[in-house]
Every structure is written in structure tokens, then in C-alpha cells.
């Protein structure tokens, strides 16, 4: 069996292809290198900063989606949750109900968490298929966002000091922009959560074998509930973030981006049937998508072709993964002596 052949026996290439993260990192590096050759201004500090800042929302939400997918679920309501919380905060600032940035974030997160909790209850207690439950809430939360907006936007002028947050780097010790800093923090927290805490492992356990998890005393319903709550919480945070980053709150914020988040996770090697996937994968997946989106205009591919390229890359990555796995299995079989 391949697993029993000692690691050192495997060539470097094998080890890279064996680990999804490693191969993705390779892809990312090659990608960046190619783009850099085409347009040298790509890998500048400011440019990378922009990439991270503009995609912070996707990157953070793919963390939540990672957890959801790990339990074998899915959540397509996240962007609606984002819009609802973001819009609410925007309006609160517009009508001078609140002034403090911190409070704004707290409210956004609270709203997001509430939305997530509701979904969590419906899914974990009500036994509704996640895709259906979240599809329903996708309509509901988006609708609520529109109602709250009541055909108003919160522009830069209305938001006032709240928009400065995305510009300053007070959290990043004056070096790293706040938004990027928050992203990094989220990733650190989730890395620890998933790898080194009981809760994290039970998420994997549920996705890997639900019945076993129940029998061995994992509180499946509770964990599932928490996972959707966390997802909502992150979506809420992202609501506030995208308001500060684009210094405008509009009810149709990031419409349809939930698919990008899911795509990021899947490219990152997260299995949609649950149990498999890692924070590193989510990071690389969302980074690859971000780089592509940023790079296409730079390398002179008409931005009209952007979606096509994105889609093809998604397909290519997942198919490639299957092919390599099959090849490895075959070579293992052939190595067996009969």
C-alpha cells in the first residue's frame, strides 16, 4: 500500500503532487511568475496590497465556507447576509445613529451571527437540506437588505469616519493595512481552531462519518449549528469590511459572489462531500482566483474573457486533481507484487 511506503522513498515531485496544498502553491507561484514576466508592475508591494484588500471579503468568507463544506453542508446565502449587515451599518451611520467604527463592526458581526444562527437552527434542528435552507435565506436576507436600504445608499460622505478604517493601518502596526490585518488574524484563528482544538476536529469528524460522530458522542447538531453561526458571523464581518473598503453601502453588494467563495474552497481542495480540506487550501484557492481576476487585464486578456478563464481554471483544477489521484492509484496497484 502506498501509505506504508516510507515518506523518504517518494520523490519530491511525488510529495508535491501528493499534497494538494503544495501543488496549489506551485500553481500560484508559476502563475505569478508568468504574469510578472508579462507586466513587471504586478508584484509591487502596493499592487499585492490591493489584491489582498479587494479580495479580503472573499478570502475571509471562504474560511467560513470551509467549515460548512467540511461538515458536508453548503451555504449560498452568505452574500445576502453580508449585504444585510453591511447595509444596516451603512444606514446607521447615514442617519448618525452611531459614529464609532468599533460599534459599527460589532453590530455588523452581531447581525451576521444572528442570520447564521437562524440558518443553523433550521438546518441542524429542522433537518432541512443546507442548499435549500440557504437558498431560501438567500432571497430573504437580500430582500431585507433592500427594505432596510429603502432605495438609499450610504456614500463616502454619509459614512464619514467609518471609511478611514480601510485606509489606516493602526491594527497592522502602521505597516499592514487594517483590512489585510483582519484577514490575517482570521486565518491564524481558524488555522488554530481547525487543527488544534476539539471543536475543529469534530467538524472534520462529522463530515467524515456522521453516524460514527454521533455514536462516539460528538454533539453533531450543536457543531453544525455553530458552523453556520460562524459562517454568518464572518459574513457579517465582511459586510462591515466591504462597506469600509468601497466606502459605500448598497443593497446589491457582492451579488452572486457566493459561488466565487465556494469555487475558491473547491480549488483549494475542499471536498464538497465533507471531511477533507484545510485552511491552507482555502487560502491558496481564494488567492489563485484573486490573482487571476487581477492579472487578466494586466496581461492584456480582454476583461470580457475573464469569466471564461475563471471557469475553465476551476474545471481544470478539479479534473486535474482527479486525474493525478487516479494515476497515483494505478501506479500503486502496479507496484503491488502478485
Amino acid at each position: 500500500m502506498p501509505e506504508q511506503t516510507p515518506e523518504k522513498k517518494q520523490s519530491l515531485w511525488k510529495r508535491i503532487t501528493a499534497s494538494r496544498e503544495a501543488s496549489l502553491l506551485l500553481v500560484l507561484i508559476v502563475l505569478c511568475a508568468l504574469i510578472e514576466i508579462r507586466s513587471p508592475e504586478f508584484l509591487t508591494f502596493s499592487n499585492i496590497g490591493e489584491i489582498l484588500k479587494n479580495n479580503a471579503v472573499i478570502m475571509i468568507m471562504s474560511l467560513g465556507m470551509l467549515c460548512v463544506l467540511l461538515t458536508g453542508g453548503i451555504d449560498i446565502s452568505i452574500t445576502s447576509t453580508l449585504a444585510l449587515s453591511g447595509m444596516t451599518v451603512g444606514m446607521l451611520f447615514k442617519y448618525k445613529v452611531i459614529q464609532s467604527t468599533g460599534l459599527g463592526f460589532l453590530i455588523a458581526i452581531a447581525i451576521g451571527a444572528a442570520c447564521g444562527a437562524l440558518i443553523g437552527v433550521i438546518v441542524s434542528r429542522g433537518g432541512v437540506m443546507p442548499i435549500i435552507a440557504t437558498m431560501g435565506f438567500m432571497y430573504i436576507y437580500r430582500g431585507l437588505a433592500y427594505l432596510i436600504a429603502n432605495s438609499q445608499w450610504a456614500g463616502a460622505d454619509a459614512l464619514g469616519s467609518f471609511t478611514d478604517f480601510a485606509l489606516s493601518s493602526s491594527l497592522g502596526f502602521g505597516v499592514i493595512n487594517n483590512v489585510i490585518m483582519i484577514t490575517i488574524l482570521c486565518y491564524v484563528v481558524f488555522f488554530i481552531l481547525l487543527k488544534w482544538t476539539k471543536f475543529g476536529r469534530s467538524i472534520y469528524a462529522i463530515g467524515s462519518n456522521r453516524e460514527a460522530a454521533e455514536i462516539s458522542g460528538t454533539h453533531v447538531a450543536r457543531v453544525e449549528f455553530l458552523v453556520y453561526l460562524i459562517m454568518g458571523l464572518l459574513a457579517g464581518l465582511c459586510g462591515a469590511l466591504s462597506v469600509t473598503v468601497y466606502s459605500s453601502a448598497q443593497p446589491n453588494m457582492v451579488l452572486g459572489k457566493e459561488m466565487d467563495v465556494i469555487a475558491a474552497c473547491v480549488i483549494g481542495g475542499v471536498s464538497m462531500s465533507g471531511g477533507r480540506g484545510s485552511v491552507g487550501g482555502a487560502l491558496l484557492g481564494s488567492l489563485i482566483l484573486a490573482v487571476i481576476a487581477k492579472a487578466l487585464p494586466l496581461v492584456g486578456i480582454d476583461s470580457i474573457a475573464q469569466n471564461t478563464v475563471k471557469g475553465i481554471i476551476i474545471l481544470a483544477v478539479v479534473i486535474l486533481n482527479v486525474v493525478t489521484k487516479r494515476m497515483m492509484d494505478r501506479s500503486n496497484l502496479e507496484r503491488r507484487k502478485i
Binding site: M1, R201, S202, A212, R276
Partner: protein, 529 residues
């Protein structure tokens, strides 16, 4: 050598030494499911360091009883005493905390996670909330070494064979410092020598003063390992006996509630011409150069260790997987089978090993299950003739004597034996059938049903069907088969006929060399499905 000194290494508060003689005692346990009484005032007691067998037909309530002990189910009535103190478990966690560990029939493992994680799931080694991977891996490896396992603790569970997975489960039980270990049909999936290894482990545990509850359908298990035996029937408590003082016939009577005359009815059938011939069949990584033939009215069995490639050969013959080389002849004519439907068209029918997963659609009525393969023949102008369909299914289900309320009863509600009968009926319904391949036909089937299935096999042979049986159970192989092919490491290592076959010969042939695991094979079959 002492198993516990391994666990002492871990800083976890050692439980006080047990003095009570009765480690575990249950009185008047009653468990009720919607519409069904699964346990009716069952009693049970377990002494320190004893192996207590729990016997009974499928559906007698053994598994339910275990789940009550392990806190998965909560009994409506009855008390449980642990070390003399009254105990009631709110959930599995309580049972684990109380030192009760269960190893279930189908290992309840996490295929995507490593062996270490499987062993330490829900009792990870943590330092202020942070999981200590190094320590866990090391400790897990130590347990595996104690059980002289042949795999690493960092391996993914999904890649292990059933026997290996069971070993992990036992390691898990030890890691929890369990004083009471429950083994639910551990030997069902094991071959003779794998079982032997398990027995040794159990004896080791006994010496440590661990009490073991042992569920099995195999009498040889009970006689080999158990001190006392408790029998359940129809969710009722029948009695508890000293194993040394009870004969197998008595046991059968107590379990089945009636006399079973000759368990293996092997009718004398006249053997006709050759029906199926397989020549030099090979599949990379699974089996090589396998040749065999079956004649009409003949029962040919394939045996060998798990992983010898028996199932894989049959799957290749029936088109579940593709063979990489070799020829298959049916009545002298070469046939090319690409998928099961091709095989059925030609008259080769496979009764898969895992009838729950591959044999039946559990949520469907048994009638529909029977007619699924023959719907096209049952439909006029492309429309299924439902009354006709129901007639046919009823006919064949009765022919094999399925016990069910109606043909609309979901397959999931039937006992293992009856499910197997449905699968057989499904095969019989195919009038083209010439060869019937039964993969472990009596696996997880209780004694009563077993003999009935043997009867059916005999009748089929009588009707001139060519029968191939894949089995690991010595008694049935020796009793039922006209010829026996023994496989090992993907090759046929010998062919014995009814007269000359003995347990020793078979074991010798099946251990002539050690073969690869079979799990990947199963996986691929699923992938192709």
C-alpha cells in the same frame, strides 16, 4: 507484557482499582422504538475479567442492547449498575467516561482522518485546550505495536482493511483505558487466522482484568473465547449459561426457538455440462491469471483470506470492474462483459457481498427491489405493467420464503437473512440466469436463516444452475461445495473437491503467501458505479 504501562505514560487521572465482582449489571431493560418493542425486560451481568458472549438471531435485540449499555439509546425501563453503583448514561460520552468502549460490527471510523485521530477522537490529548499531535501519534503507535499491527498511526483510516480498522477500534478502546470492551460481531469480516489473532488480543485483555462482551454468530468464536453466554430471542431474555456446559445444538434451539435438523442440506444433484469458464483472468493489482470453471448443478466455492482477491475476481467476471486481461466463456462461447447489465443479459448474476450497500435499495419496497433488473421485460410499450410487476415479485419472494408483511415493506425493515432472500429472489426473477455468484451469502445472517439459504442453494443446484459461492466460513465451505478453489494474494493456489477438502488443507493453501489489502478494490467498484 502489560498493555497498561503504555497508557500510564499519558498524564490522565487513573481510575481507582475496581473491587466489585459484578462489573456491570442490567435489570429489566426495556427499549421501545416507534411501534416496536426492541428489548423486553432483558437482564445481563458481567464479571471482572470475563468474556461474556451475547448470542441471538438477527433482530433478537443484541445490537440495541449494546447501544443501551453504551448510552447511545436510553432505555424506557430498567436499571443499570456499574461496579455496584446505579448508573444512567445521558449519552455515549458518559459511557466512555465510565470506561465502557464498543467496537461495532461495521467499524465506526472516520475514513478521511488518520488512525491517530480515530483512536483519540473525543478524548484527544490536550494541553490547555491545544491538541498535542506529537504525543498522540507516539501513543497511538505504541498501542498499535502492542497489537502487533502492520501499519502506521499516521495512515489514513480509509486505506486500511476491515481487519486493520477493527484493530484500530480496539486500540481506541485501550486508549480510553476501558474496563469493559464490547465487540459486536468482530469476526464477521475476518478470516480464520485473523480471528485467531483477535482471540489472542482478547485473552491479553482478559489478563488485564478487562471484561469483554462478545457478540457473534459463530459458535467456534463462542467456544474458543467466551466464559459465559447470554441468549436473546425476539427481544426477550432467554438465559445465561456456562459455555463449557452447553452444546451447540442446545444453543441453536435456544436461539432459534425450534429444532434445526441438519444445518447443511447438501442434496445429491447430477452435475451437467460446463456453463462458465474463466481463463487467465487478471486485473492489475488485484488478481493474476485466475482460471476456473463451473458446471451446471454444481456448487463451487472460492475461499481464502480477506484480500486474497476472491470478490475482485467475481466483480470482474460480472463487469462491476474491468479485467485487464483474460477470457470468459459462457457455455463455450466467449462473452465480453462491460457492466453488470451485460453480465445479466448473458445470464451471470452476482449477489454482492455487502447487500445493504450494493444488493438492495433499502428505502424501497422489497417488491420493487426484486423487479428492478427486469423492468424492461415487465413493461409494455415502454410503460411498466405494475400489476404484473407485483405478481412477479410476490411469486419469487414467496418462492424463497421471505418473511415480510407485504411486497411494499421497505427492505430496510427486514432482518439480514430475509434481506439476503430478497437478493436471491431478485436473481431468480431473471429468467435468463444460468450462473449465480453468491459473495458471502450468509455473512451476518443468523443460524435459522442460514440453513434456509443453504436449502435454497441446494434447490438452485438441483434446478441445474451453476453456483459460485465466495465464503470465509469453513463449515459451510466444507459442507456445501462440490469443488473448492482456494485463493491467496490474488492467485488461485489450489483446487480441492468435496471429498478431499479439509480445514487444514484449505488453511495451508490460503496462507501460502500473503496478499494485498482489498479496500482499494471495493472503492474502485463504487467509483465506477
Amino acid at each position: 507484557m502489560d498493555l497498561w504501562n503504555v497508557t500510564i505514560k499519558t498524564e490522565r487521572k487513573a481510575r481507582g482499582y475496581i473491587v466489585a465482582d459484578n462489573v456491570l449489571e442490567l435489570k429489566g431493560i426495556t427499549k421501545i422504538f416507534p411501534g416496536v418493542k426492541a428489548l423486553d425486560h432483558v437482564q445481563f451481568d458481567l464479571r471482572r475479567g470475563e468474556v461474556h458472549a451475547l448470542m441471538g438471531e438477527n433482530g433478537a435485540g443484541k445490537s440495541t442492547f449494546i447501544k443501551v449499555i453504551t448510552g447511545v439509546y436510553h432505555a424506557e425501563e430498567g436499571e443499570m449498575y456499574l461496579y455496584g453503583k446505579k448508573a444512567s448514561f445521558r449519552g455515549p460520552m458518559d459511557a466512555q467516561a465510565a470506561g465502557i468502549a464498543a467496537v461495532y460490527q461495521h467499524p465506526t471510523s472516520y475514513p478521511d482522518l488518520t488512525v491517530t485521530e480515530n483512536i483519540f477522537m473525543n478524548h484527544e490529548i490536550k494541553k490547555h485546550g491545544v491538541i498535542q499531535w506529537k504525543a498522540m501519534n507516539a501513543e497511538a503507535q505504541a498501542y498499535l505495536d502492542q497489537l502487533d499491527a502492520d501499519f502506521k498511526s499516521t495512515v489514513e483510516m480509509g486505506t486500511l482493511s476491515v481487519a486493520q480498522q477493527q484493530m484500530v477500534e480496539i486500540a481506541k478502546a485501550i486508549s480510553m483505558r476501558a474496563r469493559i470492551i464490547i465487540l459486536d460481531e468482530p469476526t464477521a469480516a475476518l478470516t480464520a487466522n485473523e480471528s485467531e489473532r483477535l482471540y489472542r488480543i482478547i485473552e491479553k485483555l482478559k489478563k488485564e482484568g478487562v471484561s469483554v462482551i462478545f457478540i457473534s454468530h459463530r459458535f467456534e468464536d463462542m467456544y474458543r473465547i467466551a466464559d459465559r453466554v447470554t441468549v436473546l430471542r425476539d427481544s426477550q431474555y432467554i438465559g445465561t449459561y456456562q459455555v463449557s456446559e452447553i452444546s451447540s445444538d442446545e444453543m441453536i434451539r435456544k436461539m432459534v426457538g425450534r429444532e434445526i435438523k441438519d444445518l447443511f442440506p447438501k442434496p445429491e444433484t447430477k452435475i451437467g455440462g460446463e456453463v462458465l469458464r474463466v481463463e487467465h483472468l487478471s486485473r492489475t493489482g488485484y488478481f493474476k491469471d485466475v482460471s476456473f470453471h463451473v458446471r451446471a448443478g454444481e456448487i463451487v466455492s472460492f475461499t481464502g483470506l480477506v484480500g486474497a482477491g476472491r470478490t475482485e475476481v467475481m466483480e470482474a467476471v460480472c463487469g462491476v470492474t474491468r479485467a485487464s486481461s483474460g477470457k470468459v466463456f459462457l457455455e463455450g462461447r466467449e462473452i465480453h462483459v462491460g457492466c453488470p447489465s451485460d453480465a445479466m443479459r448473458d445470464g451471470i448474476v452476482l449477489l454482492p457481498e455487502d447487500r445493504q450497500k450494493d444488493g438492495l435499495i433499502l428505502s424501497w419496497g422489497i417488491g420493487r427491489n426484486v423487479t428492478l433488473p427486469i423492468l424492461r421485460t415487465l413493461s409494455r410499450r415502454g410503460i411498466v405493467d405494475v400489476p404484473g410487476e407485483e405478481r412477479v415479485s410476490k411469486k419469487y419472494l414467496e418462492e424463497v420464503g421471505t418473511k415480510a408483511v407485504s411486497i411494499f415493506e421497505p427492505a430496510s425493515s427486514l432482518s439480514g437473512g430475509n434481506q439476503q432472500k430478497v437478493v436471491v429472489a431478485k436473481a431468480l426473477a431473471q429468467d435468463k440466469m444460468k450462473v449465480i455468484i453468491m459473495d458471502e451469502p450468509t455473512k451476518g445472517v443468523d443460524v435459522g436463516a442460514k440453513s434456509e439459504i443453504y436449502h435454497i442453494m441446494g434447490e438452485l443446484a438441483g434446478h441445474g444452475y451453476a453456483i459460485v459461492m465466495v465464503s470465509s466460513e469453513m463449515p459451510e465451505i466444507l459442507a456445501m461445495s462440490d469443488r473448492i478453489y482456494v485463493m491467496c494474494g490474488g492467485c488461485v493456489t489450489g483446487e480441492l473437491d468435496h471429498g478431499s477438502a479439509t480445514q487444514e488443507k484449505i488453511l495451508a493453501l490460503s496462507m501460502s503467501k500473503d496478499g494485498p489489502g482489498r479496500e482499494n478494490g471495493k472503492k474502485e467498484a463504487v467509483a465506477n458505479a
